[in-house]
C-alpha cells in the first residue's frame, strides 16, 4: 500500500474528560511525530487522525466508524475512560480491529470475550488495592500499621473497581446477573484493617466536600482512602481535609499525580500516596522506530515538545502508540488480524517494550504480572516509593503523614 499509514483516535477533548483527553492527544501526537522522524513504520509515514468525541459514547462510536469507513485508517488507538471504551470495544471487535486501550480498566470490558483488545496499563482497577496492600506490608513498620480506615469514593467506573478490590465485593454483570469476579475478603480485611467510615459521592455535581471531610475526620481513622475520579476531585478533597484539619497516618488517593494537583493543594499534598501506571523516574526501557527509547528519553522529548514534564495521562497513550508500532513491525504489515496474533503472542520474555515497561497479556486482554507503582508527594515533587525491588532510585516513604 502507498501513502502514509493512517491511524485514528477518538478522544474526549471537550466535556467531562477533557483534561485527560487532551493529554492523551499530546501523548499520541508526540509518539507519532517521533516515529515519523525515525522514518515511519515499515517505511511508511504515519498520519494520526484525532477526533473530539465530547466525552459522549455515541459520538465515540460514530468516530471510529468514520475512521474505518471514510478515512480508511489501518489501525486505531483507544480512547480514554471505561465509559467510552465499553461501546467502542464492540465496534472495533466487529470490524476486526486491534483495540489498544490506554484507559478503561473495568473488568467487565475484558470478560465479554472480545479477541483483539489489549489493556496498556497495569492490571485492572479491581486489583489496584494489591499495591496499596504491598505498601502497608513492606514499608510500614508493623507496630505503627494503620488499624482503621475511612474509605470514600466517587461513584465512577474506575473508582468503583478499586473499591470492590479493597472492600472485597463481588463484581457482577448486570446483563445476566452473573458473577464476573469475587474479590472477597478484600485487601483491607486481608490486612486486618477495620473500615470505620465508607461512603460514595455522585459522579457529577458534588460540592459538599467540607461536610464529607469533616465526617471522615469525626470517624477518626488511621488511614484515609480517597478514590477520586479526577485530579480535580482530589484537589477538592485534599483542600477540604486541610480546612477541617483532618489527620491520618496514611492517605491514599487514586488520582493526583498531575502537576495541577500539587498546584491546587500546595503543602497539603505532602505525604499523600497515589498509585500510577507511570512515573518519570521509572527506568523503563522501550522501543521506538526499532531503536531503544527509554522513559527518560520520553520525558525529555515531551519537555521539548510541550515545555512541561509529562504525567501519566500523556505517557500511557505514548505506550499505546509504541505497542501498535511494534505490532505492525512484528506482523510485518498493518493487517489487524496479524497484529492481534502478534500482540497475543507476547510473553514475559518477549514482551512489548514501552515507556510503561514490559507488556504481555492474558487471553482476556489484561496485562499479566504488571503491578502498579506507588508514588508520594513530598516537597512539591511526586516521588516514586514502591515497589522497592523493581528498579533503582526508589525514594523512602514518609510515614506517618500527620496533618494536611
Amino acid at each position: 500500500q502507498e501513502g502514509p499509514i493512517k491511524i485514528g483516535a477518538s478522544l474526549p477533548l471537550t466535556g467531562n474528560f477533557s483534561v485527560a483527553g487532551s493529554k492523551h492527544q499530546q501523548g499520541y501526537e508526540l509518539c507519532v511525530g517521533l516515529i515519523n522522524e525515525r522514518g515511519g513504520i515499515l517505511g511508511r509515514q504515519v498520519e494520526l487522525i484525532v477526533s473530539d468525541n465530547r466525552s459522549d459514547p455515541a459520538t465515540a462510536i460514530n468516530q471510529y466508524e468514520r475512521f474505518i469507513n471514510v478515512d480508511g485508517v489501518e489501525a486505531v488507538y483507544g480512547t480514554f475512560s471505561s465509559r467510552l471504551t465499553f461501546p467502542v470495544a464492540s465496534i472495533l471487535a466487529k470490524n476486526g480491529f486491534v483495540h489498544p486501550v490506554p484507559a478503561g480498566g473495568a473488568l467487565r470490558i475484558y470478560t465479554q470475550g472480545h479477541k483483539n483488545i489489549f489493556y496498556f496499563q497495569p492490571n485492572a482497577a479491581e486489583y489496584v488495592g494489591a499495591s496499596l496492600a504491598g505498601v502497608l506490608k513492606d514499608l510500614v513498620p508493623a507496630d505503627a500499621a494503620p488499624k482503621s480506615a475511612a474509605i470514600i469514593s466517587a461513584d465512577d467506573f474506575f473508582a468503583n473497581g478499586v473499591w470492590s478490590g479493597l472492600m472485597g465485593e463481588k463484581v457482577m454483570d448486570p446483563a445476566d446477573g452473573s458473577e464476573v469476579a469475587d474479590l472477597a475478603p478484600g485487601y483491607l480485611a486481608d490486612n486486618g484493617i477495620e473500615v470505620v467510615f465508607s461512603e460514595k459521592w455522585p459522579e457529577e455535581g458534588f460540592s459538599d466536600w467540607l461536610n464529607l471531610a469533616n465526617r471522615v475526620k469525626q470517624s477518626g481513622p488511621d488511614m484515609i482512602i480517597g478514590l477520586t475520579a479526577s485530579a480535580e476531585e482530589a484537589v477538592q478533597l485534599t483542600r477540604a481535609f486541610k480546612t477541617v484539619r483532618a489527620e491520618a497516618d496514611l492517605v491514599y488517593l487514586s488520582q493526583g499525580t498531575q502537576a495541577e494537583f500539587a498546584e491546587g493543594t500546595g503543602e497539603s499534598s505532602n505525604g499523600i500516596l497515589i498509585h500510577t501506571s507511570w512515573h518519570k523516574d521509572a527506568p523503563f526501557e522501550g522501543l521506538l522506530g526499532g531503536e531503544p527509547f527509554s522513559n527518560a528519553d520520553y520525558v525529555a522529548a515531551h519537555q521539548a515538545a510541550y515545555g512541561a514534564v509529562p504525567d501519566e495521562d500523556s505517557a500511557i497513550p505514548f505506550a499505546v502508540c509504541q505497542g501498535i508500532e511494534q505490532a505492525m513491525i512484528g506482523a510485518g504489515s498493518t493487517d489487524n488480524a496479524a497484529m492481534g496474533t502478534w500482540l497475543s503472542g507476547r510473553s514475559k520474555d518477549d514482551p512489548v517494550r514501552s515507556i510503561l515497561g514490559r507488556f504481555n497479556w492474558d487471553d482476556t486482554g489484561l496485562p499479566a504480572d504488571k503491578p502498579f507503582l506507588m508514588t508520594q508527594w513530598n516537597g512539591g515533587e511526586l516521588q516514586f516509593v514502591y515497589p522497592t525491588d523493581e528498579f533503582e532510585g526508589v525514594n523512602p516513604m514518609t510515614y506517618p503523614k500527620g496533618s494536611f
Binding site: 477533557s18 483527553g21 455535581g205 458534588f206 477541617v244
Partner: protein
C-alpha cells in the same frame, strides 16, 4: 449536637456562595426575561480573571472581585450588543434567549478552553483552606468571607434596584417595553446596562468561586441545573427568593449528606424543587400563575 451545629454551619457556608451565583441569574431573568444558561460559564470566566490576577500578581481574590465584575460587565455589554439586542423586541424573546444563551455558553466555554486549556484551577489564598475553630466546631474562613461578600453585594444590588431611578426604569422596561419607551426611557440602554449588571454579578461570583471550588471551562454544566433549581425554587426573578432558597437547600443538602450519605445530597436540590413545584408552582416568592 456538636455535629448538628457543624452541619448547619457548613450548609450556611455553602449557601452564601450559591446565593451570589444564583442571584445574578435571577436578576437577569427578573428584569430582562433572559433565562441565562450562559451564566455559569461566565462565572467561570470571572473565576479565570481572578485566578490570573492572583497567580500573576498575587492580588487577593477579594480585591480582584470588583475588577472581575467590571471586566465581565464589559463582556456583558459586548455580548448584549452582538447577540441579544436584535431580538430584544421580539415577543418570543424569553424563549429565544434560552437557546441564545445556550449557544453563548458554548462560545464562552470554547473560548476559555482555547485560552486556558481544560486544566482545572483553583486560587489558593491562605484563608481558602483555613477555618476558625470553636472547640470541635469550625467555620471555614474561605466560605465565610465568600458568603459575607456575596450578601453585601446582593443587598446593595437589591436596594439599588428598588429605589434608584435607573432601577425603576429597568423594572418598567421589563414589564412593558413599549410603555417605558413612550415615557422617555431609552430601553436599549436600559437593556444593555441591566445585562451588564447581571453579567458583572457573574464576574463577582466567579471571584468567590475561584477559591471555594475548583474550576475549568467545562465545569459550568455541573452548575447550571443546581443554580436553575435555586432560582425556580425562590420564584423566578425574585432575588430574595433565590437567596433564601440557596440557604435553605444548602442546609438541607448538608443534613442529607451527613445523615443519608453524600450521594443523596445533590439530589436534595432537585427533589426539593420537584416537591415545591407540586404544592407551590410559582416557587417561594414568585407570583401566582393566572389560572387557578
Amino acid at each position: 449536637m456538636e455535629q448538628i451545629v457543624q452541619t448547619l454551619i457548613l450548609g450556611i457556608a455553602l449557601g452564601g456562595v450559591f446565593a451570589l451565583m444564583g442571584s445574578g441569574l435571577s436578576l437577569v431573568f427578573g428584569v430582562m426575561r433572559i433565562v441565562n444558561l450562559a451564566h455559569p460559564s461566565l462565572i467561570i470566566a470571572g473565576a479565570y480573571v481572578t485566578y490570573w490576577g492572583f497567580k500573576l500578581w498575587g492580588i487577593d481574590p477579594l480585591v480582584m472581585l470588583p475588577i472581575a465584575a467590571i471586566i465581565l460587565a464589559a463582556i456583558g455589554v459586548i455580548l448584549y450588543k452582538l447577540v441579544f439586542e436584535k431580538e430584544a423586541k421580539s415577543a418570543k424573546y424569553s424563549e429565544m434567549t434560552v437557546l441564545l444563551t445556550f449557544a453563548t455558553a458554548m462560545i464562552v466555554e470554547g473560548a476559555l478552553g482555547g485560552m486556558f486549556t481544560n486544566t482545572q484551577r483553583v486560587t489558593s489564598p491562605d484563608y481558602a483552606t483555613d477555618a476558625i475553630f470553636f472547640g470541635n466546631v469550625f467555620i471555614p474562613t474561605g466560605q465565610l468571607y465568600a458568603g459575607l461578600a456575596s450578601l453585601v453585594i446582593i443587598g446593595a444590588l437589591a436596594l439599588f434596584l428598588k429605589h434608584s431611578r435607573f432601577g425603576n426604569a429597568i423594572r418598567a422596561t421589563t414589564q412593558n417595553r413599549d410603555a417605558a419607551e413612550l415615557l422617555g426611557v431609552n430601553v436599549n440602554f436600559v437593556g444593555i446596562m441591566s445585562f451588564a449588571i447581571g453579567i458583572g454579578l457573574a464576574g463577582a461570583a466567579g471571584s468567590l468561586v475561584s477559591f471555594v471550588f475548583s474550576f475549568f471551562p467545562a465545569k459550568h454544566w455541573e452548575w447550571i441545573a443546581v443554580l436553575m433549581s435555586l432560582v425556580v425554587l425562590g420564584g423566578m426573578g425574585s432575588i430574595l427568593g433565590t437567596v433564601l432558597a440557596s440557604f435553605m437547600l444548602s442546609i438541607v443538602a448538608a443534613f442529607v449528606g451527613a445523615y443519608f450519605g453524600s450521594t443523596w445530597s445533590s439530589m436534595t436540590f432537585f427533589l426539593a424543587l420537584f416537591l415545591i413545584l407540586l404544592v407551590r408552582p410559582q416557587g417561594l416568592f414568585g407570583e401566582k400563575p393566572e389560572l387557578a
